[in-house]
């Protein structure tokens, strides 16, 4: 990130610094989700059976499909960076485009999945959920909190990717100056890592 206008000393770009800043930001994200993981583990220890039953109502197929989608989108972001480093702008744009589309696909699946659960009455204070034992209410509370917060991060990631895509297209992110792409990539990978944890915790809990 550069300094301001009209300064006597030319603003320099400190890539290492920008990257360190990004990692520090990722740490705050890790601890943000960490709080949820902490609650999850505490409640799973208390309600092992209920969590087991809770997982059975979830659509495992969509959960697994979304895992493949995110893993692959992570690959394409990583490829985009290597491609840009090698000067292949076209491949970079294609890879980023695919990533964005995968991100949107992920959201669509999420939408289908949530509507299914909600149609079944399985949402906080929903008629079906209120009939279930307490532990399952907690499971669904955590399910919506975790996937919802993760979903918001996917939305933010897609927006960031779209902006970077535009930067690459306009040549303001270049093979020698691609820190913005790299940091966006880091963010997207972290979103992927969080999902790697959500899959077994929620969908494979049964």
């Amino acid at each position: 990130m550069s300094s301001v206008h009209a300064q006597p000393h030319p603003a320099h770009k400190d890539y290492e610094g920008a990257k360190l800043g990004m990692w520090l930001f990722l740490f705050t994200e890790i601890l943000l989700f960490g709080g949820l993981f902490l609650l999850y583990s505490a409640y799973r220890a208390r309600y092992p059976l209920e969590f087991h039953h809770g997982g059975q109502h979830l659509n495992t197929f969509i959960g697994v499909a979304n895992t493949f989608i995110l893993l692959t989108s992570s690959l394409t972001v990583a490829l985009a960076i290597s491609a840009l480093q090698k000067g292949n702008r076209k491949l970079t744009l294609t890879c980023l485009g695919i990533t964005i589309l995968f991100g949107l696909m992920f959201l669509m699946n999420k939408y289908i999945e949530w509507s299914e659960e909600i149609a079944k009455g399985l949402y906080p204070n929903g008629p079906e959920l209120l009939k279930l034992p307490n532990g399952e209410k907690i499971f669904y509370g955590l399910y919506y909190a975790m996937t919802g917060l993760h979903g918001l991060h996917v939305v933010a990631g897609i927006i960031a990717l779209a902006i970077v895509w535009n930067f690459v297209r306009r040549n303001s992110v270049t093979p020698t100056d691609f820190n913005k792409l790299e940091n966006t990539g880091l963010y997207w990978h972290l979103v992927d890592v969080i999902w790697i944890f959500l899959l077994p915790l929620l969908y494979l809990a049964a």
């Binding site: 696909m105 939408y111 509507s115 909600i118 906080p124 204070n125």
Partner: protein, 274 residues
């Protein structure tokens, strides 16, 4: 990769339609989620009247109403007598307060404890009364601290009238820890939350209740009836005390070290360089 690319092409078309559907979907979602949760806790009813005409039983099993009992400022507590959680520390604290407060129990104020557990009997209530009166450090007439029981309907009417909500959980109850000040006319004047109370605070709120004032709640930290174990606190404090002594010993050793080190000579300017 190719397969998923094809799928992607199809899905991306559907996507555009769905994105704005997603946005639409959020409004009913929010609406669907907003329903009142089941309550445990206190919904304050400051200024309204306690259920004066519910028929309860006194310690001898005779029917009484709160209207018949309340003529002076009253501390109302709601408990159940088998309670393994916060009831005992709460009632003990009330007993402490009665011992320390600058008002005369039975004359300036009284305490009424109502059990909301319908399976509690007048016999248990009487035993409770005897036990708690034993804790008194000055002569207190039994009428100054009543322990009442009653059937589910009547006790529920009392607890509802002061906004006290509890829930059965296996063979125990989940309920808040609170004492409620009533004016001589039976109006809810003040809530004090927690399981231990300061004599001065109780005295001030009783004086306000005596004057018929209603005063808003100060700090609403709800203690719930969960596992509360006064024993373990004692262990902790002995552990902290041990650790505290260790720190003091360390500090003393450090100061000693400083002074001994200094007396070895005045080469301190180079003594602690990098």
């Amino acid at each position: 990769m190719r397969g998923s690319l094809e799928k992607l092409m199809i899905q991306s078309k559907i996507m555009t339609h769905l994105i704005f559907l997603l946005a639409l979907a959020f409004s009913p979602l929010v609406h669907a989620f907003q329903q009142a949760p089941a309550e445990v806790g206190v919904k304050e009813k400051l200024g309204s009247s306690v259920a004066l005409d519910s028929v309860l039983r006194d310690e001898q099993g005779k029917p009484v109403t709160l209207r018949g009992l309340i003529q002076k400022p009253t501390i109302l507590t709601l408990n159940y007598f088998r309670c393994a959680g916060i009831c005992t520390p709460l009632l003990n604290s009330v007993a402490d307060v009665i011992n320390q407060v600058g008002l005369e129990p039975g004359k300036d104020f009284q305490v009424i404890t109502v059990s909301f557990d319908p399976s509690d009997t007048p016999e248990i209530a009487e035993q409770k009364q005897i036990n708690y009166l034993k804790l008194m450090k000055r002569p207190v007439a039994p009428a100054a601290w009543r322990f009442l029981t009653g059937d589910a309907v009547n006790t529920k009417r009392v607890s509802d009238s002061v906004g006290f909500h509890f829930r059965a959980d296996k063979d125990q109850f989940v309920h808040p820890g609170v004492i409620i000040m009533l004016t001589p006319a039976g109006t809810v004047s003040h809530y004090l939350y927690g399981i231990s109370f300061l004599p001065a605070e109780v005295q001030m709120s009783l004086q306000e209740a005596a004057a018929g004032q209603v005063s808003p709640t100060i700090s609403r930290f709800l203690a719930f009836c969960y596992s509360y174990d006064p024993e373990s606190r004692r262990y902790v404090l002995s552990a902290t005390r041990l650790a505290g002594i260790a720190v003091l010993v360390f500090a003393a050793a450090f100061i000693l070290f400083l002074y001994l080190g200094r007396s070895r000579g005045s080469k301190d300017k180079t003594g602690f360089t990098e």
